[in-house]
Symmetry: C2
Subunit: 95 residues, 2 copies
Amino acid sequence: MNMIKVSATSRTAAVAGAIAGIVREHHRAEVQAIGAGAVNQAVKALVLATGYLRLDGIHVSCVPEFADVTIEDKVRTAIRLVVEPEYSPNNSEAS
Amino acid sequence: MNMIKVSATSRTAAVAGAIAGIVREHHRAEVQAIGAGAVNQAVKALVLATGYLRLDGIHVSCVPEFADVTIEDKVRTAIRLVVEPEYSPNNSEAS
């Protein structure tokens, strides 16, 4: 399970480290956030993680999508950021 | 100038249309947002734009970055989402 759940109070550096670690190991990470504060933290963490991974020669990009999640019997719309190495002839880490 | 500035009150459908139009024409768009509400609107718009473009066979991904912008003599940190077609053998629209 490569899903990282982010809240408005998540520490960006911790989330960034988690994203980078999962991408290094599994070549794909998913970051889920519900609400503006959480989405903002998730995107900031992704900026940091992108920088960490670039130092390792791994160039990632993300595709955002909506996801319906049920929390305490209520359906809410989450933002899910799917993070993967870019496919590129110059990116030796891309599969 | 392919920069789209998004605020917390921007309509996501309008921003999504702008992103899709600029990517179709210029193969690259930048979406800038300052603050959690604006970042949330920008990401939601990007989900919609990704769907619009996918219908045209254009598969985009984004790389987020920080950018310092000066507004009324104050430096603020913006989030900038760089949106480009993914490089892929199956993506005829990618350059």
